[in-house]
Structure formats: structure tokens, C-alpha cells
């Protein structure tokens, strides 16, 4: 493939921990072939050298939390043929969206010595709330195999393989014994989008939903069952309000539980 034919890739960061960008850099063995197949034109986490747009593919990490973020994401959208969000923050608002249930000014007063320097929006919101998103890659962080699959599919002009079913499929395929049924550990696997390979249950802990809701989540039923087995309402709310707690399905379920409690 001649170098001028290589698609130009840009990677951007908003409010996030950089973990998804690191997952891209963690591709290790595949990174050299990736660099050969695409031109990495803008990726500050990897290199300070940048090339001007427009770009064929923009990967966006992080959520929108400032007025500048809002302007920047619109500019990025204009400059990108295909915009793909990577990770829980960009796709659902991230763990920082917990502030959406509270008064952000109280947090600012508690955390910062000089609150007057902080200019932030009231809410942390997903990229899709502001611009059209062509594809969303879930996870906190994203799964590097899925990231490579998406880029490979884009290069080859085919649909990427990102099954939207529950994490339970992945547990059962690998033979992991259900931690909820066999040990009573609360697990969001039946509500959560697959893609991680059912990592947490294989280490004997419950899924905490970092890939966000699966294709047709039924959180009310799982919550009712957890409550009936003695899990406290506050624990179920906390479980739903994790890294993807501001996603529509998890938010609606945790809000409902909170209303019932009041």
C-alpha cells in the first residue's frame, strides 16, 4: 500500500483518564502493522508531531465537561469523515457523570483550594449528545482486540464484529461458573454489553458494567431479583451507577430505585 493511500487517523482526548488511548498503544505486536496501514496524523498521547486535517477516522476518548469541549467536539466532527468514540467516558459520560446526580459546585468547593479557577459544565455528557457518532466502542478501558477489529474492518470496508449481547454469553463460552448463582455475588453481566471476554467473573468478581448496557437490557428485573436475595437497595443503585451509570438504561433503573426508596 503506497503511503499516500493510507487513511489518516486522529485520536483525541476529552475528560478521561487516557486509559483507552493506552489500550491502543498496548496493541504492541499489532501496532507496527497498524502504523503501516494507517497514517497516525494526530495522537498527542503517542507523538507531539501532528498533521493537519481533514482526517479519515477520528477516535474520541473522554466525555464533554466544559464549554471548550463543546466547541472542540464540533470542530473535530467537521474535520472527520468517520467519528468513533472509544470507551465508557466518550460513550456514556463515564464515572465523572456521577456528578450529574449532584451539585457540581459542591464538588468543586470540596476538592479545589481555589474553586474560582474551575470553569466546568454542570453535567458530564457522552459525545453522542453533541455530535453525530458513527460508531461506539465500549469499555473502561476498551478491549484492544475490539479496537483492532474495528480499525481492520474500517480499512477493509466491512462491518466490524461487535456483538451487542450480554456478557453472560462470554462467561458461558469460556466455561466460567456464574458467580451470581454459585456464590451470590451481585453481577451486572446479564445487563452488560459483551466485548471484554467476561474478564471480571473469570477473576471471581461480579461484572460492574463498564461496557454499558447490552442490546435489550432488563435492569428492573435484575434489580428486583437482587433485592429479593437480600442485596440492599443502596448497593444496587451504586452498582448501576458505575462507569456507565449515566447510560439511558442504567440511569433509568437507578433513578427508579431511588424514587421507590424516597
Amino acid at each position: 500500500m503506497a503511503s499516500e493511500a493510507r487513511p489518516k487517523l486522529a485520536v483525541y482526548k476529552f475528560s478521561s483518564c487516557d486509559g483507552c488511548q493506552l489500550a491502543l498503544l498496548n496493541l504492541e505486536d499489532e501496532l507496527l502493522s497498524l502504523v503501516g496501514a494507517v497514517e497516525i496524523a494526530y495522537f498527542l498521547e503517542a507523538s507531539s508531531a501532528t498533521l493537519p486535517g481533514p482526517y479519515d477516522v477520528a477516535l474520541v476518548e473522554g466525555s464533554v465537561t466544559t464549554a471548550e469541549d463543546v466547541e472542540r467536539i464540533h470542530a473535530i466532527r467537521k474535520d472527520a469523515k468517520c467519528l468513533m468514540t472509544i470507551g465508557a467516558c466518550a460513550t456514556t459520560g463515564g464515572i465523572q457523570a456521577l456528578r450529574n446526580w449532584k451539585d457540581v459546585n459542591e464538588f468543586i468547593r470540596c476538592v479545589y483550594a481555589r474553586p474560582e479557577y474551575i470553569h466546568t459544565l454542570k453535567d458530564s455528557t457522552p459525545i453522542s449528545k453533541h455530535v453525530k457518532v458513527d460508531l461506539e466502542l465500549n469499555g473502561c478501558p476498551i478491549n484492544k482486540v475490539q479496537a483492532l477489529e474495528v480499525l481492520t474492518a474500517l480499512l477493509q470496508g466491512r462491518a466490524p464484529h461487535l456483538p451487542p449481547h450480554a456478557v453472560c454469553m462470554e462467561c458461558k463460552r469460556r466455561g466460567t461458573v456464574c458467580v451470581t448463582v454459585a456464590q451470590g455475588i451481585a453481577c451486572l453481566g446479564p445487563l452488560t454489553h459483551a466485548g471484554c471476554g467476561a474478564l471480571c467473573p473469570s477473576y471471581n468478581r461480579g461484572c460492574y458494567g463498564c461496557f454499558g448496557p447490552m442490546e435489550n437490557p432488563n435492569p428492573d428485573s435484575l434489580a428486583a431479583h437482587l433485592l429479593s436475595t437480600g442485596v440492599s437497595r443502596s448497593h444496587v443503585i451504586q452498582l448501576l451507577r458505575g462507569f456507565t451509570g449515566y447510560s439511558d438504561a442504567f440511569r433509568a433503573a437507578s433513578d427508579k430505585l431511588e424514587r421507590i426508596a424516597q
Partner: protein
Amino acid sequence: MSASLPRVSASVAMPKGSLQQVFDNLRAAGYTLVGPTVRDSAIVLDEIDGLDDLPQGWTDEQQPAHYRLKKAPDNQYFSYGVGPHSWKQFLHPSRLRLFSVEKNNGSWTIRPSQEPPPRYAFIGVRACDVAAIGIQDRVLIGSEFRDPHYAARREQVFVLAVNCSHSGATCFCASMKTGPKVTGGFDLALTELPDIFLVEIGSEAGAEVLGDVPWEAATAFDLGRASRVIQRAERQDGRHMLTDDLPDVLYENLESPQWDEVATRCLSCANCTLVCPTCFCTTVEDVSNLRATSAERIRVADSCFNRDFSHVHGGNSRPTIRSRYRQWLTHKLASWIDQFGTSGCVGCGRCITWCPVGIEITEEVNAIRAKGGK
């Protein structure tokens, strides 16, 4: 002691420790042993070496959405019910590479998967699971469209079955007429008594495995004790399914309000289909490298509870959880009979135990029957 081999269909008594010798003989004959063993707080199926790997002294407690591994009151080898795994994961693996393709000098070479199929001896197969293997045989190799991967594994399998001495609270094999006694489809079938194994010989291969194992012809006393053990298990079945009016009661109630009710509880997470020992659906995933010079086709377990499963050109034929649960239940208990001549349910109870919200197939059928007025 007898120097000759027992004849097929005979029952013999064997010291418990001699089961190790049976295992050794199977291994010497080239089999990989797979059987129950304790792992991850459950009794799972995995490769085993000897008697020490069996869950001796362990049992389980099962309820809807509830499984707990417990110390058994006795020190027997088989005092528990079926666990989260079933034999289909060895005969019909949940992930199987079918072939790979590679591009060299502009042309593609296709390489079928060359891995030789493993030769398994299944240790401790319960009656419901023997029936389940029989059902998968009909589905996967019982017609002109044979699954060669299943066939290659199935043809070599040695089945050492065990008659259940205990039934769990989610078991209903007696209703489905599949157990708790194994009545066919085995090479050897054990009944565990406190002092001996009573061994029924099911095939020439089974008799040969007993070659140098000490055995005696079973006495009437032993046979009586064994039959009481199995009767006790039958009485213990914790769930019941009325089958007399199946499949009609389901076909006549396809618009029952119960389907809406169960859809409020069903998570559509697919656990029931994946633990079911007869559910057989698969899909294929194609994986390619970045430069499009090599690719693989992998077959993976799929489920009718996944939306993609019923995605066809123009839309989805089962877009709601209600429609997917109804499809699963009516196929399992009704249209399976039209399609393959038997029910697709063997009464093992796995779908009840391993449903994360404890939906009971037996209760759903009862509710549909009650609401339908039949």
C-alpha cells in the same frame, strides 16, 4: 472373582477403589478422561486424572437462580446433581476454528482445521445427560445434514454413566421420562452403594475395560439396594412437568398473557440456552488481519435470545424479549417434537438453577396452562 469378561447387560459388583483401575484402562486405551471435579465453587466437568479428582464427599444445593457447593453427609463419589456444565461443551464445543485462508502471491489458499478430534471417556454421565446426548445425536448427525465435527467426536466417545442417588430441587427427569436410571446409550453404568459400585455392562467396549478389574456377579441383595437408591432419587425430584397436553397446550396459547408476564422478568441473557444440554445453535465469526492477507472462520455457540440471531434482511423477526422467550419455550417443548420426534427438554433443571433471576420452565408451562383454562 471371575477371570472372564462380564457379558453385555450383566450387572457386576466392583470394589469402589477399582474405579481407578477402570480409569487407568481407559487411559491406556487412548482416552482423555473428562468428569466432574470441584472448581470455582461448583462441580464442573473438566479433564480428570483419577479418583482423587472426583468431588468425593461433596454435594450441591440447587434452587432457582441458586447453586451452592456443600459438604455431603456421606463420603461418596457421586452424591450430587448436574452442575453448570454439560457434555455438549466437549461434543459440540462453544468455540471451534473451522478453517483459515491465506493469500500468497495473489492467490488464496484454504486450510481446513486439521486438529484431530479428541477421544473422550465421559465419566459420571447422568441419565438426563445421556438422553441429551441422544437428542443432539438426532439433531446434529441424525439426518442427511451431518455436522462432521460433532460426528468425529461423538463416534469415539466412551460413556461411563452413573445412576443418580440424589435428585435436586430443580430436577424433573422423572416427568420427562429420562431418568434417574440410565436405560441405554452407555458403555458402563454405575450405581454407587456405600460399600461397592454396582456396574451394568452396556457394550463390548465396556466389558473390555473391566479386563483386569476384580468383579463379582451382582447378588439379588445388591440389585435390590441399587434399585432402592434410584427409587429414592426419583421420589426426590424437586420439580414436575405435566407433559400429557404438550405440545398442544403451547400451540393453543401463543397469545397467552403469560408471555408478556415472563418477558418482564426474562433478561434475554441467554444463560438458559447455554447451560441447556440440548440447545445446539451456533453462528460463525470471520476474523481477518489488518492487511487482509489471512483470515479465519470460527464457529461459536449462539442463542435465540440474542437479537442478531433473528436478524434477517429488512428487520428482526423476533424483536422483543417476549417473542424470544416464546420461541425458546415452544421450540424446546413443542416444535422440537414435530421437528425431531422427541421433546428438546430432558428435565435436568439447569435452565432453572442457572437463570440469574430464577425463571422456572416448569412454572411457566403451568401458568400458561392455567391462564389458557386447560
